[in-house]
């Protein structure tokens, strides 16, 4: 009886980790998420993309996923396990999975790997990303208009290029409206911890900011903004339900079309590792409706969104680095490689970038 109970519990625990079954003739598409699919943020949106692919491609494919996979050695095991389980194409959705994916991709040359937000590629490993910074530029502009104090708070996860790029784009947007705009930055060293994120939001509000932006995945900071009667921006998915009076807009990710395209390519044998970076114009980054702001601010935000859709890059010169040196000359557009390795702040950010 004892043993039976223990076995039952162990089975229940392991069942919660893998969902999906196997069949021989179908293509099995698999995903590895860094957070829970119920985070209502980043991993949730990737999973929505998976569901869209499932719906669009019907019985040609079957899908499976692992959620809550920690970056590091755990990720190695997760990818290897999916590879052994017969997945034909595996999507890894967190920056920190990069080295694990490179390692496992080398071991399984017949399986196709796709890594979101990374930069290392191989014959069977492609990378894809979304230009979140485009949306963040517009958010910066809105923040500078809506903030009465001229200072915003920014909750960061880890100081990786992806996040630094977002901070810089936000600041450039804000400076385009108010050149003296200030930014307070707090790192919580986690992608997903509602409690810590809420603490960070409270800290920033207590220190006098009246608007916050976040590069972490839960809705907690926006809820704090709602409680305080102040403003903030959503992340990854539309969080308006959590902050009906606080959310100005949200930088949402739409991965479905990309996943469908790539799985189709894998099905008809045209798949090649690529290196794509999709933005607002591709429909991969979508700004949710502009709310809780005056009409003129809304008009400005819509105009910027349109400008970006037409091909304008927020990282267009003149842009100066934090130390005052010139980074982009007038009219010069930042190269993608530089953005993807961004490790400096732009001028006007009064903080030191952790290295």
């Amino acid at each position: 009886m004892k043993r039976l109970l223990i076995a039952l519990m162990a089975t229940a625990a392991s069942l919660s980790m893998v969902v999906g079954a196997q069949a021989a003739d179908k293509l099995k598409a698999c995903w590895v998420y860094v957070g829970p699919i119920g985070d209502f943020g980043y991993s949730y949106q990737h999973n929505q993309g998976r569901l869209e692919a499932e719906k669009a491609l019907g019985d040609k494919i079957e899908t499976s996923y692992l959620e809550n996979v920690a970056e590091g050695p755990d990720a190695d095991r997760a990818f290897e396990r999916l590879a052994r389980e017969g997945c034909g194409i595996i999507f890894g959705t967190s920056f920190g999975f990069m080295d694990s994916m490179v390692k496992v991709a080398k071991k399984f040359p017949d399986i196709k790997f796709e890594h979101a937000t990374g930069y290392k590629t191989a014959d069977n490993l492609g990378v894809y990303n979304a230009r979140f910074y485009e949306g963040r530029y517009v958010m910066g502009q809105i923040a500078a208009k809506v903030s009465k104090k001229g200072v915003a708070g920014y909750i960061g996860s880890f100081p990786i290029p992806e996040v630094v790029m977002g901070i810089n784009a936000f600041m450039l947007g804000a400076q385009s409206v108010n050149p003296d705009f200030k930014l307070k930055i707090v790192w919580v060293s986690s992608w997903f911890d509602p409690g810590k994120e809420a603490d960070a939001a409270k800290t920033l509000f207590d220190q006098g900011v009246d608007i916050i932006s976040q590069h972490t995945d839960s809705t907690a900071p926006l809820q704090v903004a709602e409680e305080r009667g102040l403003h903030g921006f959503g992340q990854s998915s539309d969080m308006i339900k959590f902050a009906p009076h606080a959310q100005l807009t949200s930088n949402t990710d739409e991965w479905g079309p990309y996943y469908i395209e790539r799985i189709k390519a894998a099905l008809d044998g045209t798949w090649k590792p690529d290196n794509v970076w999709l933005g607002i114009k591709d429909g991969a980054v979508v700004l949710s409706p502009f709310t809780n702001m005056p009409d003129d601010v809304k008009a400005m935000a819509e105009a910027s969104e349109k400008k970006i859709t037409d091909g304008w890059n927020p990282f267009t010169g003149p842009v100066y680095k934090q130390d005052g040196s010139e980074w982009l000359k007038d009219g010069q557009v930042a190269k993608d490689e530089v953005l993807l390795g961004m490790n400096f702040y732009v001028k006007g950010i009064d903080d030191k970038l952790p290295q």
Binding site: P36, V188, P194, D199, Q207, K352
Partner: protein
């Protein structure tokens, strides 16, 4: 609002779930049982509290549900380890795994729904007192429960006969059994109390701290609570001190960052954990004191011979 008070309020909210879960676990460990399932019971309390609050529209009913679900979940552990004498470490770990998975399954329907928040206390005249008013009389109800729990457990363990019995069971279940004390019954009650506390701590997360349900929202707080019990060398008031030190270091480093103090955030965010280790080292230097407080039969299964 004065910034010092604002910081204190944030610290209290961050420390409360740790304190409650750790106080519950302290009673469990004082009875000689090691339940590593705190994280699992906590997350079950969080989903249960959110769910009941959402469905009934009452945060108070949510709170009761959180306590009940935590207690019920710990009963599973009690049956396994006490009646069936399974290994406590393995059973506790599987309780955590089960809780994390099961809560995610139970909570799928609650994802993305705004929840109920327990209202803050408001006493006319007192809450509006300058400086101390808001901290002493204007916080959420669970904050007051956590302080009362600490005082209650300290009184129970060291000032009552039942508390003495519980501690003696934790030190030597064999002797207690020989004296005619019903070891298993005491331990059942202790484990269920621990579960109720962990559930309450989870309820605090989903009804006060961040009123929402998301998977994994406990984010390792159950483990910190477990460490706090050792940190406090099984003394209730030291658990309170430990929880607040932990909260203060965490919130303090956030403020340091927002002030723009140029210390790498990686170091700052590891500070609470470093502080815990340092204190543990300092405490364990005095072997005799540590031995005196550690329940001697902690973690050992007890099978009464009939």
């Amino acid at each position: 609002m004065d910034i010092t008070i604002a910081i204190l309020l944030t610290i209290a909210t961050a420390a409360t779930p740790l304190l409650i879960a750790a106080i519950g676990e302290l009673v469990v460990e004082r009875s000689g049982v090691l339940n590593l399932g705190v994280e699992g019971m906590m997350i079950m309390g969080a989903v249960g509290g959110f769910g009941a609050g959402y469905l009934t529209g009452s945060a108070w009913l949510g709170l009761l549900a959180a306590i009940a679900i935590g207690a019920l979940f710990s009963l599973l552990f009690a049956v396994m380890t006490l009646s069936l004498a399974t290994n406590q470490v393995a059973t506790g770990l599987s309780l955590t795994l089960l809780g994390l998975g099961f809560s995610g399954m139970m909570g799928t329907g609650f994802v993305g729904l705004p929840g109920q928040r327990l209202p803050d206390l408001y006493i006319p005249g007192l809450t509006t007192l300058p400086v101390v008013g808001e901290f002493l009389f204007g916080q959420d109800p669970i904050f007051y429960i956590s302080i009362a729990l600490t005082a209650g457990v300290a009184w129970f363990l060291f000032k009552t006969r039942a508390g003495l019995t519980l501690r003696s069971i934790g030190d030597s279940h064999g002797s207690a059994h020989a004296l005619g004390i019903n070891v298993i019954r005491y331990r059942y009650m202790a484990v269920i109390f621990g579960g109720a506390c962990a559930g309450l701590a989870g309820g605090q997360l989903s009804l006060v701290y961040t009123p929402q349900w998301v998977e994994n929202m406990s984010a390792g707080r159950g483990w910190i609570a477990l460490a706090l019990v050792v940190f406090a060398s099984w003394r209730p008031w030291r658990v309170l001190v430990g929880a607040y030190i932990f909260g203060a270091v965490w919130i303090g480093q956030l403020h340091a960052q927002a002030f723009g103090i140029p210390v790498p955030p990686q170091i700052l965010s590891s500070l609470p954990y470093l502080a815990t280790i340092v204190v543990l080292v300092l405490i364990s230097r005095n072997k005799r004191l540590t031995m005196m407080n550690t329940p001697a039969s902690l973690g050992q299964p007890f099978v009464p011979d009939r």
